[in-house]
């Protein structure tokens, strides 16, 4: 290297050299700029305080356990997006995740524009005034296809508004291993007491257990509410405003005796049932470990795709009766739209797009649910597979009956008052009376907290 070249390099180096102070100044300026850049989105979010506004329509879809069904629904929604020129973001959410997603979305103002939802989440959103009125699209579908009577009954709120559009009816059934029952000399049980008796005699633990419905803090365990109702237990009065569980002590204790006897004496529940999650019931039945389970027909729909031989041995029956009454509740799976969505009109158009009869035929080819509109009753699939869906949609009792569906009764379910009543006895060794008294207090507190809300 020549001397000139060395000299030139030294000059260049000296030109680029910073003093300590210069370096610190530049570093601090860079730091402040970086902090401002980092803080900007956060400040922007807090400044908005409104819901997320976007040209993209976000759709929350229940992820079922049926891949083809999910794919069919996604494709239809995408097809609407393409035909209408609206960008659609479909978010699949497992049913068990709705419990955390929806409250978080409410608080962070990130609810989607359209969401598929069942009763408990509908009540939560409705009671907070977060849902748009969908009367127009409801009336349009009614004029074109005609809603079934039960859907009409369930769709209109007390104040006359229609904040959801039913895409299907749903109920809970007694799904049973008819082959095991008939081998043991039994048919479908007509009462809950029979159900436990048959289960106890037909089971072969540890290979098979009589009853495979959760007793844990999961929504499946709320199916036991219907058995309590069949024993005459009431939670609130006919107006749905005042708690009355305390007035039904005898009925509740009778029902608790039935449940505790089934758990402790007949041992029809598989061990582990007290901590099952949302998948426990389905997994146990599908792996041929239980004889009975309460189910909204997701089990038979899964068996149809995955275990057709087991489906042939499986029966779908109406819920048993209790000594006082029997309930066979019918609810809806519905679509709702966020009230302050900038895309309410587009969302309504999308909902209307989903009521094309050819698509509905394909939809029910895979769905576990029952019909929502009159022409769907005649779809061949309802004659070929699980025809009980049409019967129940036609003759079932409205969801929660004889209770009034409202946010208070919804909280009785989301806080698992009924499964907890059983857990306190069979797990904590609490007396039936104390467990009942604790439940009375819980229900009382819930209804009082909702009074006037």
């Amino acid at each position: 290297m020549t001397d000139d070249r060395v000299r030139a390099l030294l000059q260049e180096a000296s030109r680029l050299r910073y003093s300590r102070r210069q370096l610190l100044r530049r570093a601090s300026a860079l730091g402040i700029a970086s902090a401002a850049i980092c803080a900007a989105p956060a400040l922007n979010v807090s400044a908005r305080r409104g819901s997320v506004q976007s040209d993209t329509l976000t759709f929350w879809l229940y992820r079922s356990r049926l891949d083809e069904f999910d794919e069919t629904r996604r494709e239809r929604i995408k097809a609407w997006g393409e035909s209408s020129g609206v960008e659609v973001n479909i978010v699949d959410i497992a049913t068990s995740d709705y419990g955390t997603k929806i409250p978080a979305a409410i608080e962070s103002n990130t609810l989607p524009d359209v969401l598929e939802l069942t009763e408990e989440w509908f009540q939560l959103l409705l009671s907070r005034g977060l849902l748009a009125d969908l009367t127009d699209v409801y009336n349009t579908v009614d004029a074109e296809l005609g809603w079934t009577p039960i859907v009409k009954q369930l769709s209109v709120e007390a104040d006359g508004t229609i904040p959801r559009v039913a895409i299907a009816t749903t109920s809970t059934y007694l799904v049973a291993r008819d082959d095991i029952l008939s081998e043991a000399g039994f048919g479908p049980p007509s009462t809950y007491a029979e159900m436990f008796d048959f289960g106890a005699q037909a089971q072969d633990p540890p290979n098979t257990f009589g009853m495979g419905t959760a007793l844990s803090n999961t929504s499946d365990a709320n199916n036991w509410i219907m058995s309590a109702q069949a024993y005459g237990v009431r939670f609130a009065d006919d107006t749905g405003e005042a708690a009355v569980l305390g007035d039904h002590k005898d009925e509740a204790i009778d029902w608790l005796n039935l449940m505790v006897d089934a758990y402790e004496e007949k041992r029809v529940f598989p061990p582990g049932v007290l901590t099952w999650d949302q998948t426990g019931d389905n997994d146990a039945f599908q792996s041929e470990r239980t004889i009975f389970t309460f189910n909204p027909l997701s089990v038979p729909a899964w068996l149809k795709e995955n275990k057709p031989d087991l489906l042939e041995k499986t029966g779908i029956h109406l819920l048993p009766a209790g000594p006082v009454t029997s309930v066979q509740p019918v609810g809806t799976v519905a679509l709702a739209v966020r009230k302050d969505s900038p895309l309410v009109a587009e969302a309504s158009d999308l909902i209307h797009f989903l009521f094309d009869l050819d698509y509905r035929r394909e939809f029910f080819q895979y769905a576990q649910w029952g019909p929502a509109t009159v022409p769907e009753n005649d779809f061949p699939i309802f004659e070929e597979f699980m025809p009980v869906r049409v019967e129940v949609a036609d003759a079932g009792t409205p969801r929660d009956f004889p209770e009034v569906t409202n946010s208070a009764f919804n909280e009785v379910k989301t806080t698992f008052v009924v499964p907890r009543m059983i857990q306190r006895v069979v797990s904590d060794g609490m007396s039936r009376e104390d467990s009942f008294n604790e439940a009375v207090q819980a229900v009382q507190d819930i209804y009082e907290s909702h009074a006037g809300a």
Partner: protein, 314 residues
């Protein structure tokens, strides 16, 4: 050109005024220091102080999901303190933490002692022992859930096949035992961190101390007690401090294994906060649960840092 120079100069003067004019060198350094700290302080304010103070504020309101909160004073706190569920959650949290940290310490120490020996395949074993800690929590706890499952789980299959039991054992469904099985899963997942820290600490203990002790006839136990343990004192306090905070605040193991059940047998305070906030939608009470735990954790941190400082002084 002249115009552009005159427009630039005042800006340069303002910046220099901020840092130099009328200030002593010490003051200039202080201003510069604050300027340098500003980005971090801003980030802390946005990401830590703001949500933290919001949580404290919410704990004094009746805020529910989707509803504005009204000031209710200390009623959330008084309600919680008189609530048997809160007391149970606190008791379970303390049990879970004390037992969990004790066994993590014990197993971590055994792991470090074993892996500190020279043997063939030592590096492979070191990597192998880290697997539980490297695994995502979700995968680790779902694996344990499957192991414990009475119908499908491997443990029950083994117990029945070996003729030890003739009826599946409900690991997680017994109020008497469920918390212990949750703790076991959590200890399994977390003890490698303790082991790794101890192993790192052991590398700093001079080997000649062991050699001198061996020449003086000290037994293995005496060498461990008088050299290894004192040598790991600082590391031990740090891992106990971190381990306690992490275990006390653990949510994943309980949520994924039992969701606080059966009944409330495994309800820890994080699960109670979740239950109150996202199941019962009562964000005011949920925040109060978390805020109530701060003094307890703070006290523990103060005790441990005091012990650490005392060790330094000695």
């Amino acid at each position: 050109m002249g115009t552009s120079i005159s427009t630039i100069r005042p800006k340069r003067r303002r910046l220099s005024f901020l840092l130099t004019e009328g200030r002593t060198l010490r003051q200039q350094e202080a201003v510069l220091g604050w300027l340098l700290l500003t980005p971090v302080l801003l980030i802390i304010a946005v990401l830590l102080i703001w949500p933290f103070s919001s949580a404290i504020w919410i704990s004094f309101t009746d805020k529910a999901v989707g509803r504005d909160g009204n000031w209710v004073g200390v009623s959330n706190y008084s309600h919680l303190i008189s609530s048997p569920r809160f007391r149970l959650a606190l008791q379970n949290s303390l049990t879970f933490t004390v037992v969990g940290v004790f066994f993590k310490y014990l197993l971590g120490m055994l792991m470090a002692l074993a892996l500190n020996q020279a043997f063939r395949g030592r590096n492979l074993m070191r990597a192998f022992f880290l697997i539980p800690w490297i695994l995502p929590g979700f995968v680790a706890y779902m694996t344990w859930r499957w192991l414990y499952d009475p119908l499908q789980g491997m443990l029950n299959h083994a117990l029945i096949d070996l003729g030890i039991v003739d009826y599946p054992f409900a690991f997680l469904s017994s109020s008497d035992n469920a918390l212990w099985w949750v703790t076991l899963a959590h200890v399994w997942r977390s003890f490698p961190f303790f082991g790794l820290a101890f192993l790192a600490g052991m590398q700093n203990i001079p080997q000649d101390q062991y050699e001198a002790a061996a020449m003086d006839g000290a037994s293995v136990w005496q060498r461990f007690r008088d050299i290894t343990l004192p040598g790991l004192r600082h590391v031990s306090l740090v891992v106990i401090l971190l381990g306690t905070i992490w275990t006390f605040n653990a949510f994943e193991p309980v949520y994924l294994l039992t969701q606080g059940g059966p009944s409330d047998a495994t309800l820890v305070y994080t699960m109670l906060a979740f239950d109150l906030g996202l199941v019962r939608f009562n964000l005011g009470q949920a925040s109060a649960v978390s805020v109530l735990m701060l003094p307890l954790l703070g006290l523990f941190i103060v005790i441990l840092t005091t012990l650490m400082n005392r060790g330094d002084e000695e």
